[in-house]
Point group: C2
Chain length 179, copies 2
């Protein structure tokens, strides 16, 4: 068992202990089929999400008010909060540790057809590939309780849900490519 | 002169001929100091921009209605168009060809302090590093001529301009790191 195999074993054992159930069910088949391959293991993932946030927009300075990893209903937008509340939608993202640069390049070449913005996050100690989509929404929704969106919540819900659906559709195609 | 030097020479000569004046002036000092180093050359860049678009949101299916690489005024938002018009702000992005993986890793390590989402786009034939910020806005602004934003244009302008300023501030810091 070499260095990579050892890291993989340790990482997956830890994940199994602490995070089981936390991994997004929608992405689980994809993760499982990657982890079944000897040259790869996944280190983090999100299958797409939508949330309301306030604060400064930086990861450690923002407050998440409400999150959904599923299709939303109109009441998702109804919230009473001081300050600015923003609505954000983030696309699928997946990090995959690879045995070496060669396997990383092969993986990258394959997934680029679907996810053009995929890349190698780290190529020194750990070889880490990032697969990510480029769908996003970032819009101001409230200012001190005043609604800043002038359309109907039904329209906005449809818009968000349609993007979520297209994110998940692409994930399924990725699953086929990776198998 | 090896393979990399040759590519660099050809690329920069072509750039000099066809694109001079098209490169964003704000980013020029950064590009020049990178191109002065023997291990790197820049292949594409944008120092941040804001635009109105309609269409399907994919690069080849969207119509750019209006773009600014500078601070905007309130009239930037005033437009008469059928269909959905979206407002988008994109952060700084820079692609740098590197002599080899070692120089790419060194560059990446250095710029990661400022731009966490930087990565290696390609590590097979050409070694290409992408430096990019993570500031963005993507909001629906009009639906068939009806304004979907309920706040004041003055507020929205301030919000967009403040993000542009913070994008440019960070670019200046990058300039110092890279020198």
């Amino acid at each position: 068992m070499d260095y990579f195999d050892n890291n993989k074993k340790t990482f997956l054992a830890k994940l199994d202990k602490s995070k089981k159930g936390e991994v997004d069910q929608r992405i689980l088949p994809l993760i499982n089929s990657l982890n079944a391959k000897s040259d790869f293991y996944t280190t983090s993932s999100c299958s797409g999400r939508v949330y309301l946030w306030k604060g400064k927009g930086k990861k450690n300075e923002m407050i998440w008010l409400r999150t959904s990893h599923d299709l939303i209903k109109e009441d998702f937008f109804q919230i009473k909060e001081k300050g600015q509340v923003w609505l954000r939608l983030e696309d699928f993202i997946l990090h995959i540790a690879c045995r070496n640069l060669e396997t990383a390049n092969l993986l990258l070449e394959r997934v680029r057809k679907l996810y053009k913005k995929s890349c190698i996050l780290s190529a020194s100690n750990k070889i880490l590939v990032e697969i990510r989509g480029s769908e996003f929404v970032e819009m101001p929704l409230y200012e001190d309780g005043k609604l800043l969106f002038n359309g109907s919540f039904s329209w906005l819900k449809k818009e968000i849900n349609s993007r979520l659906k297209s994110i998940w559709k692409k994930e399924k195609e990725l699953g086929k490519i990776i198998k």
